[in-house]
């Protein structure tokens, strides 16, 4: 059951790479939050009660509710509906993402002694999620898309920390700080400030600072 949820989590990345509608991106972030909540609640009962309570509450409230709500608000406020100017066509995006995800699955079936400390499927999917997110950041043009892909990358890292088959609640908890970090700064302050200052949310407009003539 948990493995099914983890695979579903990986598949959400394929949808993310094929759609240009920002509201659909926000929905994916919400779905990933819910999936992470279910993975924590169902698959990691071996952890201490305090740690597991903290993780489930954090994933449900921050990842599945607060961040998507905030993103939704920003999308509406900035009237950014689509990110149509990606550097690569959707078909190729899907193809490359699928290949990366396939690579993640391959890691999980390879039998290497070094992998004995980890949950292979969780590790493989998490790694491919991080790589797909990083790759999508490089090809998308809207600041909001970049922020959303950063959040999916952070979700991938969260899954990676869950893949370590030893008790490291402190490690996972400090990872949670990344969420707070995003919520406070990247979303709360900069996205709206950039919109107010520049009147647009294109990454290409943030290229005034160069080594030649600027003040």
């Amino acid at each position: 059951m948990v493995n099914g949820l983890i695979i579903l989590f990986g598949l959400t990345m394929l949808y993310l790479s094929t759609t240009s509608r920002l509201i659909a991106h926000v929905k994916i972030v919400m779905i990933q939050g819910i999936l992470l909540f279910l993975i924590c609640a169902m698959g990691f009962s071996h952890m201490p009660l305090v740690a597991i309570t903290f993780l489930t509450v954090e994933t449900l409230i921050v990842k599945a509710i607060l961040i998507p709500l905030f993103l939704n608000k920003v999308v509406k406020k900035t009237h950014s509906n689509r990110d149509t100017d990606a550097n690569i066509a959707h078909f190729y995006c899907l193809l490359i993402s699928s290949l990366i995800l396939f690579g993640g699955f391959m890691i999980s079936v390879v039998d290497i002694p070094s992998l004995s400390m980890i949950n292979p499927i969780c590790f493989g999917i998490a790694l491919s999620t991080i790589i797909i997110s990083l790759w999508l950041i490089t090809i998308k043009h809207k600041i909001l898309s970049n922020v959303i892909e950063f959040i999916t990358m952070e979700n991938g890292i969260f899954l990676l920390s869950l893949s370590v088959a030893k008790e490291m609640p402190m490690l996972v908890n400090i990872g949670v700080l990344l969420d707070v970090f995003i919520a406070i700064y990247i979303l709360g302050l900069f996205v709206s400030e950039i919109n107010t200052e520049l009147g647009d949310m294109e990454v290409t407009h943030l290229s005034d600072l160069k080594d030649c003539d600027n003040d």
Binding site: I157, M168, I174, Y185, S207, L209, D211, N214
Partner: protein, 477 residues
């Protein structure tokens, strides 16, 4: 006692929040700087007093980094007395309060990352430095400053996230050890899994290396350093980069103890030379003198990475370089603040005849340049000499030649700019406008640079015994 360096500034922040008085803000900052330095002094005067608690530890391996932060922060606090008076003419008390509160939080975060005896905790404080300094970079609220702050936050966030991946992979490498404490990890390093250790080092080096400004993950640095207010640029360059370097150094020591050094050494060496190459190429194109200083920081971080990778005498050189770069670069950035106050522009071509306008600022500018270019008796001359010596001893002849060529190119590019700015033909109109701003430069905007440069040049000819011991224990620790 060590908790005081965290508790006192928080009390100051709360007081500053309610009082909103510029003079009082300066007093709070200065008091904190003195307290900060006092703790370092206690380490030497009363070694019997244990400066540690459950999470933080002032010991032989981080004392140099702590002292550098103390000295630079004290200099910046003095500089801020004059600088904030000029800032207060443009901004209201509330905004000035934000400036000082964020400055204190920034220093608390850097102190935390240096004193943390746990990798996880150090990571949290490194993240904290991004939060605090992003506001300071964005302080002027111009289109350019928001662009710089956005790039800084976004690129560093990705870097910090990747470093976290590295930490997760490190926990896999540690096997049954359930701790991220540096001492525990160093004690058990021999049992670590080499494959996972190498992979984790790659992630940590790229992640924290982003914060340190190593090429090819340095892109935020010239923008952020050039857009931040000058005292903040000084702190960013002279202390923040060191904090990131300390984390990398601690992991590198673990790699060394685990006898898994080849990959780490090669990567540090490659990124070091790449940083020198990037600086030598971009310095020729830059038309902004604060960006020039930022590129110089990338160069010096590259030199630190090269020294760390070489080992042997180069370790000693690394610590000397760390001290020298921090002192001289802080002075350089603060002097650039004086020039900006006078000419109100960062364009190199708009600044000429600085020597005729303000003798003290022009001398500080020239001496800072000579110091950073390792002109003897600058302490950087010693460090770079030892690095070249180590390269020759280890028979890296081609790398040694490359190192010297790249440094010469960088020296030439910087010299061209500095000479033009100080001795160039003056534009009467601009010169008269700048002359009207001379009263904005108060004595407190000269004294800290003079002190820092004096220390940097005296250390080039005489290293006191206590400092020598400190450097040696840092290397051993």
């Amino acid at each position: 006692m060590i908790s005081l360096v965290f508790i006192i500034p928080i009390i100051f922040c709360i007081l500053a929040f309610f009082i909103k008085n510029n003079k009082l803000n300066n007093i709070f900052t200065l008091l904190y700087a003195i307290l900060h330095a006092s703790l370092g002094a206690i380490y030497f005067i009363r070694p019997d007093i244990m400066l540690n608690n459950q999470y933080f530890n002032l010991n032989s391996s981080n004392i140099i980094f702590y002292i550098i932060l103390s000295v630079v922060f004290l200099a910046v606090s003095i500089y801020n007395i004059g600088y904030s008076r000029n800032l207060a003419l443009e901004f209201d008390n509330k905004k000035m309060m934000h400036y000082f509160v964020m400055l204190l939080i920034f220093v608390i975060s850097m102190t935390g990352s240096i004193l943390a005896d746990n990798l996880g905790l150090a990571w949290i404080f490194i993240e904290g430095t991004t939060l605090a300094s992003a506001y300071l970079i964005y302080f002027n609220k111009t289109k350019h400053s928001i662009e710089a702050a956005w790039k800084y936050v976004f690129i560093c966030s990705i870097g910090i996230a990747l470093a976290f991946v590295g930490i997760i992979l490190l926990t896999i490498a540690t096997g049954n050890l359930n701790s991220l404490n540096y001492e525990d990890m160093m004690a058990n390093a021999a049992n670590f899994n080499h494959f996972w250790l190498n992979v984790s080092f790659v992630f940590i080096l790229f992640g924290i290396g982003t914060k340190m400004g190593l090429a090819p993950v340095h892109f935020w640095l010239p923008d952020a350093h050039s857009q931040a207010p000058s005292p903040i640029s000084a702190l960013l360059s002279a202390t923040l980069l060191n904090c990131a370097f300390l984390v990398i150094l601690n992991i590198y020591k673990i790699m060394l103890l685990a006898n898994c050094i080849f990959c780490a050494r090669t990567m540090l060496m490659t990124m070091g030379f790449l940083s020198l190459f990037v600086t030598s190429v971009f310095l020729y194109r830059t038309t902004n003198y604060k960006r020039m200083l930022a590129y110089s920081s990338i160069e010096n971080m590259g030199i630190l990475a090269i020294a760390a990778s070489l080992g042997g005498v180069a370790y000693f050189a690394m610590v000397l370089h760390l001290i020298g770069h921090s002192l001289i670069k802080a002075s350089f950035f603060m002097t650039s603040g004086n020039i900006l106050e006078l000419f109100k522009t960062k364009k190199i071509k708009s600044i000429r005849a600085l020597g005729d306008l303000d003798k003290k600022t022009s001398w500080l500018w020239i001496v800072s340049f000579l110091g950073i270019c390792a002109f003897p008796p600058s302490i950087l001359f010693l460090s770079e000499f030892f690095i070249v010596q180590t390269l020759l001893i280890q028979r890296h002849y081609i790398l040694c030649a490359l190192f010297l060529i790249l440094l010469t190119i960088i020296l030439f590019a910087m010299a061209k700019v500095v000479i033009k700015m100080v001795f160039g033909q003056k534009n009467e109109e601009r010169f008269e406008k700048a002359k009207a701003n001379l009263n904005k430069i108060t004595p407190s905007m000269y004294i800290p640079q003079m002190a820092l440069l004096t220390i940097a040049f005296v250390l080039g000819v005489y290293i006191p015994k206590f400092l020598d011991i400190m450097i040696r224990t840092t290397i051993m620790g």
